[in-house]
Amino acid sequence: MVMKNCYRSHLEVEPGLIVAEDSPFSFSGRMQRLERFAAKPATPGSIDSEEHEPSIRILYQSLDSSGILSPLLVAEAGAGGYLLVDGLKRLQWAQGKGLELVPVHLFQGKNLVMDVIFYLAHEHSIALLDSPALRALFIRFAIDCGLDRQQAVNHLLPLLSLSSHASVLEKHLKIAALPDPLLWFCVEKGISFRRCLNLASFDRHLLDWLMARRDQLHLTASIMEEIISAMNELMKRDDLSIEELVSKGGIEVLFQQDGAASRPVSSAERTSMLRQVLRELRYPVLSSITMELSALRQKACAGVPGVEISWDNTLEHEHLDIRFRVQEISDLRRFLDQLGQQDRISAVSAMLERLKA
């Protein structure tokens, strides 16, 4: 075994001694736990090939120009071998290049899981402090890796600047149970802890449904919350599944191909249409009264420019506000004449009656 001290706790080891099979930890790979995986060296040819995702090509280009800057994480596996903890792509690159040594950070001893988790928490501390969703993902990752809950409460939570309490752990695990695309959406949008926790209370199928249509919609954190909340309430109120709601509620049609439409519908327009449909479904009484009032308002205001009639949208108050613009005294005379016509008075009277009904 060839091993050389690199700096402080970092060493250099032969790539051939590192085994990636059964490697349990990989936070950088979006925290997916590595399944049984035999390290397959990347050949120089394959590095540039189209089969690699752009991010990996960029990594390889960076490795080509600067070498391995961030040490691989390995654990002692006995008999002079090492188990790869993190850095599979770097290892493949090194093997493909035929390197004799790679820098590693070595974990030894009994507290392997805890040491690795804490090392990773430290390495990613800035991102973890910034993003509640990422924090939740990391805590789930730590538990998946075998960190027991008591250790997580006593040691990991304080390391993440969280209070050392079982309920804090539970809340983060609740967030971590959100569908992965939604969690990464939360990371991307910097969604707050409270909002993430709120999302965790919604129906899983609903969340999956929305995330599957993410590209067809223009979602901000608050719009997403509004849509999920309205759909969740409709499902609860009418005891519907997500499939039943979208087909019965006229939502499905918004996501079908434009077909006969004269022009493609943009994601912003579709979002606006979805919100409108949901508002009407969610507030049937208010929507129907508002429609009646709007029709009456049109009658009352037709041909009287500069007049606005409005009412309390919640219908809690029963009065109408009538506003008109007066620049000359003749405007006032014209307004009073026109609004005093019987058909207009009838329309305003009908509006008041509707508000009081």
Binding site: Y283, T314, E316
Partner: protein, 383 residues
């Protein structure tokens, strides 16, 4: 027998400063709750955990005040409260306490005499007025054995007050500790009532309607006045029939003659509470109805729906012979009152006066003060 509490603490100050004896504490807790320790409140912050720990405390500061929900933009009943209980053993999905209490420990003030002294001093200042004083502001008045035992002392204390009625309000059925108390007609035991399909879904741990009705009958037979609170009144599939049945069930067992008042209030909560309910009770449907934000920052059903609900329930009550009772709306707008009643009160003061008039007329044996409208109106202006 299942242990009622995970822990019981008795505040050291209760024994040292308030001069309550160990024997008195034992008597309050009863034989099933013998294991308690002297310690300050654990000041629990988890809402559910707090319900399982009983802390026996001494009175701290003033407890007697006008109901905090009173809002002059609404016509409210201007009841007074003496909150000697904090938190509640029951778990109603709509309960505001889940978003209100910072110390969630179920706390009971044990030096009842001090509470009575404070109330007596307050009601003496307006001897012409009939005070209705509830203990339910932050919890159920008869939720557990020790609370009911403590309530008995309040009942006996109120029997000597000339111008006040004690309002105990519960969703339970624990009236036995009160049945042989010397109440002097000065206590109203009232129940929050709802159809069973709602109770079983949304009022976790409370007594089913049939048990509440049985307890009402026991209380009425013991000479107590009965109050009914259809509050929160809720909308669900078949609500009309369910409320009709609920009213029929009640008045098949008790007589409207024993009922002094009936309140009705549609479900309402503030927007933060809505979130809380959705997180704490994801299966609950109560937040999924069509609601709007009122002037008091509370979400309610839309006005036409509320009016329909109130008219329907009042119709059921009249049909059941309860039209003689004082029926009133809780925290409602004047325009809703007008849409529901032929002759609604025009102000908070007038409603307060109507309580006094109704009780004086219907229960002359109570020897309550003669109500004078102007005094009630003037007093309400100062709110």
């Amino acid at each position: 027998m299942k242990k009622e509490f995970s822990g019981i603490t008795v505040d050291p100050e209760l024994l040292s400063v308030a001069n309550i004896t160990v024997e008195q504490v034992d008597a309050l807790l009863g034989p099933d709750q013998s294991a308690w320790k002297i310690a300050p409140s654990p000041r629990l912050d988890d809402y559910r955990e707090g319900k399982r720990h009983l802390h026996i405390d001494c009175k701290r500061g003033e407890l007697f005040h006008l109901c905090a929900s009173l809002d002059t933009r609404y016509i409210c009943c201007s009841t007074h409260v003496a909150a000697h209980v904090s938190n509640c053993p029951f778990e109603c999905t709509y309960c505001f306490l889940q978003n209100y209490l910072t110390d969630t420990t179920l706390t009971l003030v044990a030096n009842v005499q001090a509470v009575l002294h404070e109330i007596e001093a307050g009601i003496r200042q307006q001897p012409w007025r009939l005070f209705r004083i509830g203990t339910w502001e932050l919890g159920d008045s008869l939720g557990t054995g020790p609370i009911a035992t403590s309530a008995r002392r309040l009942v006996e204390g109120f029997s000597g007050f000339p111008n006040a009625l004690l309002k105990l309000r519960t969703k339970g059925a624990l009236v036995e500790p009160l049945l042989d108390a010397d109440h002097g007609g000065r206590t109203v035991i009232s129940w929050t009532v709802n159809p069973d399909e709602f109770i079983s879904r949304e009022e976790i741990g409370t007594a089913p309607l049939s048990r509440r009705i049985r307890a009402m009958k026991q209380a009425a037979e013991a000479g107590y006045l009965i109050g009914l609170h259809f509050d929160p009144m809720v909308q669900f599939d078949g609500w009309q029939e369910a409320y009709k049945r609920c009213v029929q069930q009640i008045f098949e067992t008790i007589s409207p003659k024993d009922v002094c008042w009936i309140s009705i209030g549609a479900l309402r909560f503030n927007p933060e509470m809505k979130r809380k309910i959705e997180i704490n009770y994801p299966r609950s449907r109560i937040t999924a109805q069509e609601m709007v934000l009122g002037d008091d920052n509370k979400l309610r059903y839309v006005r036409p729906v509320r009016v329909e609900m109130y008219r329907h329930l009042i119709g059921c009550l009249i049909e059941a012979g309860a039209g003689c009772c004082l029926i009133y709306l809780c925290m409602e707008r004047p325009n809703v009152w007008q849409a529901v009643f032929e002759d609604p009160p025009l102000s908070i003061g007038e409603l307060d006066y109507r309580f006094a008039v109704s009780l004086k007329r219907r229960f002359p044996g109570l020897d309550l003060p003669d109500p004078v409208l102007d005094r009630y109106l003037t007093a309400a202006e100062g709110v």
